[in-house]
Subunit: 259 residues, 4 copies
Amino acid sequence: MNILIIGDICGRPGRQAAAHYIPLLRQEYQTDLIIANGENSAGGVGITAPVMDELLNAGVDVITSGNHIWDKKEILDFIDKAPRLVRPANYPPGTPGFGYTVLTKQQVKIAVVNLAGRAFMPPIDCPFREADKILTAIAAQADIIIVDFHAETTSEKMALAWYLDGRVSCLVGTHTHIQTADERILPNGTAYITDLGMVGPWDSVLGVDKDLVINKFLTGLPAKFHLADGRNVFCAVIVKIDEATGKATAITRIKRYLN
Amino acid sequence: MNILIIGDICGRPGRQAAAHYIPLLRQEYQTDLIIANGENSAGGVGITAPVMDELLNAGVDVITSGNHIWDKKEILDFIDKAPRLVRPANYPPGTPGFGYTVLTKQQVKIAVVNLAGRAFMPPIDCPFREADKILTAIAAQADIIIVDFHAETTSEKMALAWYLDGRVSCLVGTHTHIQTADERILPNGTAYITDLGMVGPWDSVLGVDKDLVINKFLTGLPAKFHLADGRNVFCAVIVKIDEATGKATAITRIKRYLN
Amino acid sequence: MNILIIGDICGRPGRQAAAHYIPLLRQEYQTDLIIANGENSAGGVGITAPVMDELLNAGVDVITSGNHIWDKKEILDFIDKAPRLVRPANYPPGTPGFGYTVLTKQQVKIAVVNLAGRAFMPPIDCPFREADKILTAIAAQADIIIVDFHAETTSEKMALAWYLDGRVSCLVGTHTHIQTADERILPNGTAYITDLGMVGPWDSVLGVDKDLVINKFLTGLPAKFHLADGRNVFCAVIVKIDEATGKATAITRIKRYLN
Amino acid sequence: MNILIIGDICGRPGRQAAAHYIPLLRQEYQTDLIIANGENSAGGVGITAPVMDELLNAGVDVITSGNHIWDKKEILDFIDKAPRLVRPANYPPGTPGFGYTVLTKQQVKIAVVNLAGRAFMPPIDCPFREADKILTAIAAQADIIIVDFHAETTSEKMALAWYLDGRVSCLVGTHTHIQTADERILPNGTAYITDLGMVGPWDSVLGVDKDLVINKFLTGLPAKFHLADGRNVFCAVIVKIDEATGKATAITRIKRYLN
Ligand SMILES: [Fe+2]
Ligand SMILES: [Fe+2]
Ligand SMILES: [Fe+2]
Ligand SMILES: [Fe+2]
Ligand SMILES: [Fe+2]
Ligand SMILES: [Fe+2]
Ligand SMILES: [Fe+2]
Ligand SMILES: [Fe+2]
């Protein structure tokens, strides 16, 4: 089974690049499932119901997210009714929304789990222990398990991947918006990449107009950010998983551009 | 002119991998200058005089560094006499050591500048303004300027690269120990990569034994870290620079393994 | 000379408490100068021109501030024309506004300097070195020097106070909104308190409605804060300074309530 | 019932000041129970078995702690056998040691609970939810509940106090080493102070030699800290609790000096 996993989609330009490449890659790689991180998909921060629908209509099966998922207030109106949108599972008990979802494709049951890191990020529950809990809960239900670990530091991402090696089919990192070149299959069969990278304006700082960000670093003054113009980058991976064993057999990094 | 720039070298395994690949790459790419980040070169944190000499003897022309440069106390005994070892230039006035160095290769004057970030890092002087100051100081002395920006976040690295685009030949990021896949030439001629990656144990967390790091995340208790065993990764870039203009014309990412 | 220095004034309730106690304390302690921190004086974050005028009309001679000074956008319209409002002097070169001000009372020249900390706060220039620069600049102009050091940690505040002991008449801390009980005269004549405390709603978390803050800690979700209701606290110190020597001779902590 | 609660005891000078004042205050206030924070009691960071015994022999009934409790490695040898020493209860499951203890004095059952904050501190479990769990567990066993909340920010401390108001007899903050002037009885009967302050060298930065700390702020270089010389401060509170209701009726701040 081939799964396309797409990094943080940034606003309208990111959604357009995603809509452009999803059908092409689906055909090129004969993908069976498409996952995308949507925490920045509405205007650069957060997600709205129409934007979620736009991504689902573009072919995304499951939308993962991260710390920015709460930034558009209307999220609280629909997240509890949106089982194909997941938010980090290690937010505290009582947090609206779902931390993971299980769906069936070609009679294979696939769980998609979202977790967030704590190093240099707001305090939440332990992602390592939350992963243990979820794996216990879904062991019987899922043939394949995909984790989007939304975290800042390379060490927390790499550590969780080793911790889950052989227990999940794939762990991808998101949040830094820069694709890493370390995709690999860990010894016990978990496909891994530290960060998928983003989908959005390429001549930018993480999607944002570069002059605004430079000015922020130079002055320290509050600033209103908006996305940059110009051509876009589309960052993702294709993971090949043996559905009989749940082990990954290949991970391919994808990076395309769109004017 | 071809310049080989090598990421954070981790301890003895990293030094061995560097010693193995430096002559091979020098020949393969006909390199004229070799730069390596040595902040972790002695046992995983810091650098000593014998380790510095070992790196220089292996063919490194300039050693850059970062936040860990101070971790071996003996650094203060020799850093002021070590012009080929640079530490972040934006440490405060009075800090021992050199923030940049200028050397001549094939009658071309090359400045190597080290800077450190401030996002999620200890407070120091502004790297953007320090860069401006240094560029003013060395404008007349240098045909080519290479910057190693040792920083945690992708945004601070990308922002400084855009800020210096066209004013330096190349800016490489270090510190996260994971190579990024975004090497490029910016519009005004600066070669860029968000992080070079490291040289050291591959089945590890940033070079360190993975079980120790996992345990640290699980327990929060203090832990003594040591480097991992096993095969090593060697991460670097080759940058091709037109010495007439000081502009980069190509950047090639290098990732090799050594058992 | 007696100087009244008032902690962070929080919104309308804080301004009302300040307006109530300023005339009473001026008479009770025969004060010659009144300083107040206004970073939260407009609705809880930031300051506007009408709010600044309200504080000045209430008898405040100099308004100091801190990290929240930029939170109301209109600040940029008037801060360059507001010499009696100071913002941290160690913001980078080019920052709008004034980092210190010098005024004359009873033929005594008094400098009021604002600085901000860096521990657990956004990266700015070194407050220790900025203090050195300002003291050099104003040595000839000022008989008395008062510093408001707006910082998070007790260690950075205490360290700067020792660093400046004998070089300034008084250093008060602000930002934590909780008054400390450590007011003292340091050995070389500098009056010191780690934090003045705030002026605003007492049954609150730092002025803010407590249920909102508790909920923020419990859920981690974004929240809109507003100030709490009910009685107010008024926190300040009275510092007695010998204008002949510039040394402090007494510091008295003030804490009053207003229904 | 009168309870003496003493702030972070710093090294030998702190232990000497504690040994001096404990008998005096026990008699002066007719105290029934003595609690002290010992996270810095051995040489400034951590605690050893002999130091623990010294504190217990000096009259301390329960030793609370905080983030520094792990700094002397030998702690792991004895913490599981030391029921009168508590460490923050919201460290993750499996952490050595006890998070709370229950003891009986004059037939009154008293629980002493230790919790740690997360704002600007290492990631651990939620202190608010951990408090809920412990209160449920000990509801039947304890007439009086005392909480030492070891945390950096005034907001997290004040928020937890409001959250527990009426459910615990007293919540004191520790960790900043500077006593605050906000001791009070909250509306539902919980005695509160944001920080007890420390017991240790008064002409210092949080107990440490001030020149070392100033130098650390000026240079950013690693530094070995040692405690300061000279007279000591002894910071504590006396809390009067009605054992029939478990409610506090008075809280008195104590600050004494010893040459
Ligand atoms: Fe993102
Ligand atoms: Fe994110
Ligand atoms: Fe490194
Ligand atoms: Fe580093
Ligand atoms: Fe404030
Ligand atoms: Fe503030
Ligand atoms: Fe402490
Ligand atoms: Fe502490």
